[in-house]
Symmetry: C2
């Protein structure tokens, strides 16, 4: 057997077969760990593989077998800001962890927003067995349509879950907000306000609704609402507006930790003690939450679990199993110093 050294290319399965003196089918079986190959033959083949330094061509394999063993996690390019997003990193870690036990390779697909077709074609072109979409923001749902062609699991509630029969996993924002608010009420606070987040995102809407439910149930004032945009400064502004109303307030549920940080700052600036005068509960359990003064009591998002759950569901979906379309991950309250 001669190899043209000028164009020497990666060894193929066929070369291994020749080297081992068996058929290509047998080599294929050995490579894929088929049980019905003599230990003897297996050894011979493995020897040949080692000698030739053979690495299977996955592309050819994919074409023939219609599987890739690759799962994509789609990252909107703009969200490269995503790297700064304290929510995203743990999700990725959870996905990676869940997948490391499997034969799947994880693929963060940076979706160029300027050329969405590039991503679409990659996804639909047989490069992956399934995809994960973390849609932190409402608009990221350009991928819902692919759901009928490619197994996809979404993270975060889709805007219209009924419209599309997509699979998704999310935390129960409504219930979490209730837990937070009820903690405040349980502390004896009678005038519990809320600083809500953007009302065009599920997280913003649902958390406000949770607060509302608790307040209604407890007979509190349902008008103590100010809306922010999830940024720290918007939280500060909202807190100021709340205080400027001149009505008593002794507790605030804030829809995320960033805004909570702003609110606490305002409170202290205006001479109110936290939690003495006003107790504050945040949401997200961001990394900085424990370093604030006082340390922030907040709702912990099990982001890594969310990622892991998404990955597990997708793997089962690919395997053709029946899986629930809607999976809810529990959250829990972390009591620190602010409430």
């Amino acid at each position: 057997m001669t190899i043209d050294s000028r164009t020497s290319r990666a060894p193929t399965l066929e070369m291994v077969a020749a080297e081992a003196g068996v058929s290509r089918a047998t080599v294929s079986r050995v490579v894929n760990g088929s049980p019905k190959v003599t230990a003897e033959v297996t050894a011979i083949v493995n020897d040949a593989i080692a000698r030739l330094n053979y690495v299977p061509n996955r592309v050819a394999r994919s074409l023939a077998s219609r599987r890739t063993d690759v799962i994509a996690l789609i990252v909107p390019e703009s969200t490269s800001t995503v790297f700064a997003d304290p929510f995203f990193a743990p999700v990725v870690r959870g996905v990676a962890r869940a997948l490391s036990d499997t034969d799947y390779t994880l693929n963060l697909l940076i979706a160029s927003e300027a050329r969405p077709q590039k991503t679409r074609r990659y996804l639909l072109g047989g490069n992956v067995d399934g995809a994960l979409v973390v849609s932190h923001h409402a608009e990221d749902h350009s991928y819902v349509g692919l759901g009928s062609t490619l197994p996809i699991v979404f993270g975060g509630r889709p805007i219209n879950p009924e419209t599309f029969d997509s699979y998704f996993v999310d935390v129960d924002n409504v219930h979490s907000a209730r837990t937070a608010t009820e903690h405040l009420i349980g502390l004896g606070r009678r005038h519990v306000a809320t600083i809500a987040g953007r009302q065009d995102m599920p997280a913003g809407i649902d958390r406000l609704n949770g607060w509302r439910e608790s307040i209604d149930a407890a007979g509190g004032d349902p008008a103590l609402i100010e809306i922010g945009d999830f940024s720290q400064s918007s939280g500060a502004d909202a807190m100021n507006r709340l205080l400027d109303r001149g009505v008593p307030i002794d507790g605030v549920f804030v829809a995320n930790d960033q805004m909570a940080a702003g609110a606490v700052q305002v409170l202290r600036t205006r001479g109110l003690s936290v939690p003495g005068d006003v107790a504050v509960v945040g949401y997200d359990d961001d990394t900085f939450a424990s370093t604030l003064t006082p340390p922030l009591t907040t709702m912990h998002q099990p982001s890594a679990d969310l990622g892991a759950t998404m990955a597990e569901l997708l793997v089962r979906l690919i395997a053709g199993e029946e899986v629930p379309r809607r999976t809810i991950i529990p959250t829990h309250l972390i009591v620190r110093g602010s409430a």
Copy 2:
């Protein structure tokens, strides 16, 4: 031609050819934008494509053409901490930006450290045309070996650049450290110390060497060195050790901003003014550098440019062009309040 609806699969190029009444080759030409196809025929084919909702199978394409139009950026799984790493995000953004103009799709490959073979096989299995490796840490060089099989561009100086004829782009740490140190000297400081980083990383070694060169040239004291591990607390410790020596010090070049933050804190705690008593220059221009008190004077790393440059080089390498094995990105000093 009949399609079994139970097993209805994605339309193939062959189906498009039949629908349009042309050969598969012609369809292929249209899909790939070949110039030598009649406008008329092109229109007919495109119609058929639209009617059938045809999306080319990239895997088959890859197998036949030996190209994938995919570039991988390898991310060590542990480095999922990477997402918190202020250096990594801009690099990724730079890569993404450079690639968005091309036909390449960017693929962040999360390399499972528990099963390194998975990544290796993916890379060597024909899934990508080339790879980018950002080796922040010395150990990440398990991929150097692949360089002979797959075009690879490294970010950051390899440990033994002479040993492996790999391609890499890096900032000139030695020169940058000189710039920083000379700024201090230019300010009239006569006793300029340094807090160096880990001496098992190129960044740590080179920055120390740069300081040394400047000090030697200026006739300063070459013994004013303390080593940290790039963490803030290690910077504080190092500063304390420096001050405890009891010798005069009126300037410090610190090998990264994290350590610089720790050093400044210690300085102020011990009643020394910055930059009055001791001027401090950091390195990295981390996002928080401008928010310190006083705002930190530091060396700016053009991380996005580094990423973009890496991507451009790789693309040219894949195209078979000659490219330099060593590319150095310039840095620049940002003068703020600390020196």
